[in-house]
Structures are given as structure tokens and as C-alpha cells.
Amino acid sequence: AQSVTQLDSQVPVFEEAPVELRCNYSSSVSVYLFWYVQYPNQGLQLLLKYLSGSTLVKGINGFEAEFNKSQTSFHLRKPSVHISDTAEYFCALNYGGATNKLIFGTGTLLAVQP
């Protein structure tokens, strides 16, 4: 069965420091991978997605992620965070098939401190 694991429930970081949010997945077939951000009391916003091609994917707000098939990972990175990046981040996968279901990880709260 397909699954997504976000091991870090919370990541505290100081403003202007780099950050990496980890995402690992399990799937026996090819997958499409997504990162979403949710600001407090808001809906989901797409940060970036990997469908195929280059394994380094650039998204909005200076975020990027690297697809690593051998490590079954899709970690999200930002070289310098801002207070406004404080939010919950979700990794998700779609393995296609007949249903195109999107499976989410449990989320990582990025807490940026001044």
C-alpha cells in the first residue's frame, strides 16, 4: 500500500536560517508528489509538485524539493526562512490508477522564530 511519512511533527527554526522538511514515501509504482502549505485557519495552497523529469523542483515563495527515487524521499528546502513562512506543511502522493487518490502525510509545523 502507498503511504507518506513526515517524521517531524514540528520544526523550530530561527528567521533567515535554512530549513529542510522531510518527506518519505512508500509505493511499488511510480508516483506524483506534492507539497502543500496551510497557513493558520486557511485552506491548502500548492507549493510545488513533481510529476516527471528534473528531480529538483522549484516552487513558490523560494521553496524547492528534490525527488530521490532510491531514497524514496521528497524533502522540502528553503535557504532562508521568514516569519511569514510559519505554517503547516503537508507532503502528499498520487500513484495514479483508476482513482487518482491523493494520500497525505501527517504534516509538519514550521515555527519560525525571530
Binding site: T99, K101, I103
Partner: protein, 114 residues
């Protein structure tokens, strides 16, 4: 992504009453999904639809039913609401065009069962 509207946005209901949440999309997407979001669990799939009158269960379907009589509308019904169904509910649809492959999410419905 203004293609999905969820109603109501907020609802408080009493234990044991039936509740219906509505999801309306204007994108003519074939696939639609209902998720619930709870702290520590991320978003979990309740039910999904792969066409008019074609629906199936997700991972947390107990106590919920769905209906899809038109492409644009996907209804989620809590047959007899319980306090454990207090949650934020998100509807989504799936875009399959190569140029914009991904998902459109609604703004969510915050349901409180008292």
C-alpha cells in the same frame, strides 16, 4: 483556484442529528474527494467519486455517506453526527490535463458536534 465552493463554511450541530455538507465545482472534473483534517493526522480520505453516481470509500468512511447526482455536486452526509466527527472537512477535485495536473481544494467546512 476558485473552482470549488464548500457550504456551509461553519456549522455547529447536536449529537445524533444528520448533517450534509456540499461541494460544488465549476471545472467539470471527473474525480472528487472528501477529506477530514484533524491535528496529528493530516488529511484523511473519507469518500471519493470517479464519476456521476460512482463513489467509493476512503480510509475513514464509517459514519459517512456521499452522493453525486451531477458532475458538479458532491455531497457528504453524516448520518448521525457524533463528537468524534468534529473536524475540518475539505473537498477536492482532480485536474487531469497535462499542463496543469493536480488538485483543486475548497476552503473547508469547520464542523462542531456538541
Amino acid at each position: 483556484d476558485a473552482g470549488i465552493t464548500q457550504s456551509p463554511r461553519h456549522k455547529v450541530t447536536e449529537t445524533g442529528t444528520p448533517v450534509t455538507l456540499r461541494c460544488h465545482q465549476t471545472e467539470n472534473h471527473r474525480y472528487m474527494y472528501w477529506y477530514r483534517q484533524d491535528p496529528g493526522h493530516g488529511l484523511r480520505l473519507i469518500h471519493y467519486s470517479y464519476g456521476v453516481k460512482d463513489t467509493d470509500k476512503g480510509e475513514v468512511s464509517d459514519g459517512y455517506s456521499v452522493s453525486r447526482s451531477k458532475t458538479e455536486d458532491f455531497l457528504l452526509t453524516l448520518e448521525s453526527a457524533t463528537s468524534s466527527q468534529t473536524s475540518v472537512y475539505f473537498c477536492a477535485s482532480h485536474r487531469t490535463t497535462d499542463s496543469n495536473y493536480g488538485y483543486t481544494f475548497g476552503s473547508g467546512t469547520r464542523l462542531t458536534v456538541v
